[in-house]
């Protein structure tokens, strides 16, 4: 899908207008951003916005996320284990300390 993010009032308003007028190309509206269908119409609408508002429009292409392909097992296990923790107030860093679960800063420094 195409993720369109706006960074000015004028660009945000144009995005709203575009989304109102082209329901068929909009997957999801998110305030000053929107997910557009990965179609030529989606690209056309995104490029129209950029042509009008230049640097105040960011366009990214999103990829489906498959955790079994994109994320290592340790990360998947840590997420599941943390959501299953005994005390809801335990921060993840404390939860992971002394276990095999990965440290948050180590995860932050490692690309998928």
């Amino acid at each position: 899908m195409l993720l369109v993010v706006t960074y000015s009032k004028a660009a945000r308003q144009t995005l709203r207008n575009v989304c109102n007028g082209h329901d068929e190309a909009v997957v999801q509206r998110l305030g000053r951003a929107a997910l557009l269908e990965p179609t030529r119409l989606g690209a056309f609408l995104a490029l129209r916005l950029r042509a009008k508002h230049a640097g105040d429009v960011q366009i990214e292409r999103t990829d489906p996320f498959n955790e079994f392909r994109d994320a290592p097992e340790a990360v998947r296990r840590a997420a599941a284990a943390y959501e299953d923790r005994a005390h809801p107030s335990t921060p993840y860093r404390a939860f992971a300390a002394g276990t095999d679960h990965p440290d948050p800063s180590a995860m932050a420094g490692t690309e998928l």
Binding site: Y7, S8, K9, R12, R32, A54, G55, D56, Q58
Partner: protein, 268 residues
């Protein structure tokens, strides 16, 4: 105040132009300093109140809350939001996000990928041809030379593509920083809009009771919107003239209007 058209000049605090056959809007433009229809008016510059009730026509339309807030400001009133608004304006002035220009870098990557794919295909074709010639005892030397050429070219193009990708990655990093500034600017502008609305409400509320009193004291029979406009004009502290269409207001003479409004008046 002095009004001049060609050789004729009129001066005073209340000026009657009803015999000049000019429209209220034309005179309003002239008050703002736009030399319209050869009409030139020497007067103090109009303020924010004039944007709402500077020209009073029989069917005047204006936002009462915004006009009242402007009138309150003209009398030196302030709103509790003023301090934060000033700080936000300073921060906005200090924010100057660099332009985002990634298109060239994106195009270089796309072009490099395209050229590389074409040559990669040619290398595969040539490899097939060399192998076929060897298997059929043909002379592969020409094809081998072509293959060597294409392989060298492919290596060059790979290098170019990698360089283009790195350039784009660095440009994206820089764009991220300028987008942080743009996001902050948008947040501050939204906050400023919100504060301005709240300040306007505060100021309009502050002048509300006075407005109701003055509205009840407007002389003559006038349509409700004209009555409201005259009341706002009287409440405001004005130095630039108010233009009044004679058909709209119920004053006996321009001088009566100037006295009641405590402001310079031009009648048309």
């Amino acid at each position: 105040m002095r009004v001049r058209r060609s050789t004729e000049t009129r001066t005073g605090r209340a000026i009657d132009l009803s015999d000049w056959n000019v429209s209220a809007d034309v005179v309003g433009d002239a008050v703002r300093g736009d030399d319209s229809d050869g009409l030139a008016i020497a007067c103090p510059p109009p303020g924010p109140v004039h944007e709402h009730v500077g020209v009073i026509r029989p069917r005047i339309e204006f936002s009462r809350r915004a006009a009242l807030a402007a009138a309150a400001r003209s009398r030196g009133r302030t709103a509790p939001q003023d301090g934060e608004l000033a700080r936000i304006r300073e921060r906005l002035d200090a924010l100057d996000p660099a332009p985002v220009g990634l298109a060239d870098a994106r195009r270089r990557v796309a072009d490099a990928e395209g050229s590389e794919a074409a040559v990669r295909e040619r290398v595969a074709t040539l490899q097939g041809r060399v192998q076929a010639l060897r298997e059929t005892d043909g002379d592969p030397s020409d094809a081998e030379a072509e293959l060597a050429d294409a392989t060298r070219r492919l290596a060059d193009l790979e290098t170019e593509r990698i360089a283009a990708e790195q350039t784009l990655a660095r440009a994206r990093e820089r764009a991220r920083e300028t987008r942080d500034a743009r996001r902050e600017r948008l947040r501050l502008r939204d906050r400023a809009d919100n504060l301005r609305r709240r300040a306007r409400e505060h100021l309009a509320d502050a002048l509300g009771p006075a407005f109701e009193r003055v509205r009840g004291a407007v002389p003559g029979e006038t349509p409700p919107s004209v009555t409201a406009a005259l009341a706002v004009a009287r409440l405001a502290d004005l130095t630039a003239p108010i233009v009044i269409d004679a058909e709209a207001a119920g004053f006996e003479a321009p001088s009566a209007a100037a006295t009641w409004l405590d402001a310079p008046v031009i009648y048309v």
